[in-house]
């Protein structure tokens, strides 16, 4: 678009109360997986990008992006001992 007005976006994403979650240093669940763990020396979070994280996580129990408790799988979500499915290393 060299014009000043952009075309309409199909959506506008501004979830009002959502806060970005800083990654926590706590220990992830032992069932958490991402490809980088296998490809790059076992790092749980993708190490190759300092400024963004597009790591795709899955739970080895469900082989999906959500855990046995039906909640989301991520580096942030799978460090909580409060989750019924959480198992430390």
């Amino acid at each position: 678009m060299s014009d000043d007005q952009p075309v309409d976006l199909p959506i506008s994403t501004t979830p009002p109360e959502s806060e970005a979650v800083e990654s926590t240093p706590s220990i992830p669940c032992r069932h958490l997986r991402n490809k980088g763990m296998f490809v790059y020396n076992g790092e749980v979070s993708s190490s190759s990008h300092d400024d963004y994280d597009n790591t795709i996580y899955w739970c080895v129990k469900t082989m999906k992006g959500y855990g046995p408790d039906d909640e989301m799988v991520s580096r942030d979500d799978c460090t909580s001992a409060e989750r019924s499915c959480y198992e430390p290393f």
Partner: protein, 733 residues
Amino acid sequence: MPSVWPENPRLIGTRITRLDGLVKATGKAKYPSDMHPEGMLFGAMLYSPHAHAKIKSIDLAPAERMPGVKAVMIVGAIKPGSTLRFQGDDIAAVAAETEEQAWDAVLAIKVEYEVLPHVVTEAQAVAPGAASVFKGTGIVNNQKKARSQTNGDPEKALGAPGVVSIEANYMAPVITHVCLEPHGLTVRFVGEDKIEAWASTQAVGVTAGDLAGAFGIPTTNVTVHTEVMGGGFGSKFGADIWGITAAHLSKKAGGRPVKMFLDRAHEHLGAGNRPSAIAHVKLGASKDGKLVSLIAETSGTGGAGSGSNFPLPYVYAVPNSSRTHTDIFVNGGNARAMRAPGHPQGCIVMEAAMDDLADKLGIDPLEFRLKNLKERDMVEDGFSKPTVDRTPMYLDEVAMGADLIGWKAKWKPRGKNGDGPIRRGLGMALHQWGGGGPATNQVACTINPDGSVEMKSATQDIGTGARTIFAIIAAEVLGLNVTDITSNIGNSTFPPGQPSGGSTTTPAMSPPAFNAAILARDELFVKVAPGLNAKPEDLTLADGQVCVKGEPKLPWKDACRKLGQQSIQVTGKSSPGLASQHGGVGGCQFAEVSVDIETGVVRVKKIVAIQDTGLIIDKMTWETQVYGGVIGGLNYGLFEERVMDPTVGIMLNPDMELYKLAGASDIPEIVVRAYETPAMKARGVIGVGEPPTVSTAAAIGNAVSNAIGVRVPHWPMSPKNVLDALASKEGKA
């Protein structure tokens, strides 16, 4: 003493045909989906027809009574009350004597669903009151914000006097991997606690570990074979639920092997995809073309899971920038890593904005890009030290590419490409990638008394030519022909090898292969030197001869015969200097297109791809990978799109017909050049599977805009998207 690659190699870097080429080209190669062990049953899966549903009840009994059925089971933790989160979510599985019987039995399984409200498009997911895909930390209205990135004061910089800026939206859809061999495996449960599998996987070791873990048996009890496999592109990284299910079915059927491969629709729905990218971008530069500010709000969906983020700013130096990204969750299959995850999206967004701003500034977009490279852009050498500056590499590569596409002679400003129905246009884009490989793998090298040589490791070939790479390296060291070497890979019980992802296989496996061959050679020297009245250090190997101080003395086979009954077997590990561990490559691509402005049909006429990847082992398979990357990018640029229906929540094109992929007539002239200076070779081996697929779609999009005088903001460059963009321009005029 650390090993170093030979200074004047005989084979490395030349054009060597693949060792397993003929067995593939004659149809004799047995893929995991071709296996038919004695007594094999055929597996089939029942998967969710709904985007979002609760299972009220499941009755397997009717399926169990069907003819030929040997085992039926519910998949994983599914039970009445379970939630299915996307069309294609797995429910149950069957093993039967014939495949037709297995399908019949799947149809006979009775499932009652409570259909729940769904969201399958980004717009649906973020609409007020939308149904929730799942719960999780920080998820609001199916959105989760990533950490925001801010450098400097982008708002202030953008508003400063004299700054020229654009504001634009760009969108790329979800695409799927479309591996030609579907995900799956043929598996046999042996006895009480052993498993043998033939899996279509990018990682034999991971798959073995998954199977062992699922059954609580030692990994040593599992053997996974992947002699050859039919494509993965990042999506085949383990046993998957289907593989584990098939192993359970085999166990239930008394150890009869079970073959379980997904059907094509299931493959689209549940076996991975590349997330979409939606971007609202403001980009500003000083009048003389120096970037000052980028403000970007982006989002994308990776389905019912994480991973839609992508790098932005990309490649160029932007002193002030702010970026917020939002993961949007929909009732769709999970994203999986797909050929340079994130980079093609980041490249499209950045490079489109670069072109649009260059146009507004009235500057040649090529010059504009060169002006805005980072002052220094340090990446790794072969010793993991950041000693290599990518900026001068980009300058050289762009010069090479511009020359090959004829930029100087052919490029005209946007919209100045004639007035007939067919408009020509040029576009370009830059990209980057890692492509190194970790130093954690091993290769065994065996020299037998009959002169035969085997290289062996638990890696696999996803099409990059791993067998051939091993053989070239061994033949180089041992003074033999490539065809004298046997490469055995694709077996999880072999010495640990690299999973094939992140363009890491060749850089991770070449160093241990080289060291294994050297160790084996040195051991051979020790054994044969006395018989030649020489010291081991006086011996060399060349042209199939053992040489003493450079003089050929003993043919290879005769030398090996002196081993008596004892083979030499050694295991090589990686060592510094042979390969880059994290890589850091750059490249550029140029596209020439013709656009029929009366039909919106885009034809790519030519692509030029320039790529650096350190030391190239096999120039032939290297080039093939670059061609393949470009063609993958051409598909992304022109054809591919997962189409979802918002009302019923299904994918409308889970096939290979309306999910469009290029055929031979869509392939343009493609010119590939390696940027292969002595300095590059000194970096050691770097992988090339991913980098050349990053910038093609961006370059094509830019070429289309250049041809028709207006930005087409939606990828792919379909007749619809092109005509819609032209119409919106006319509407404004």
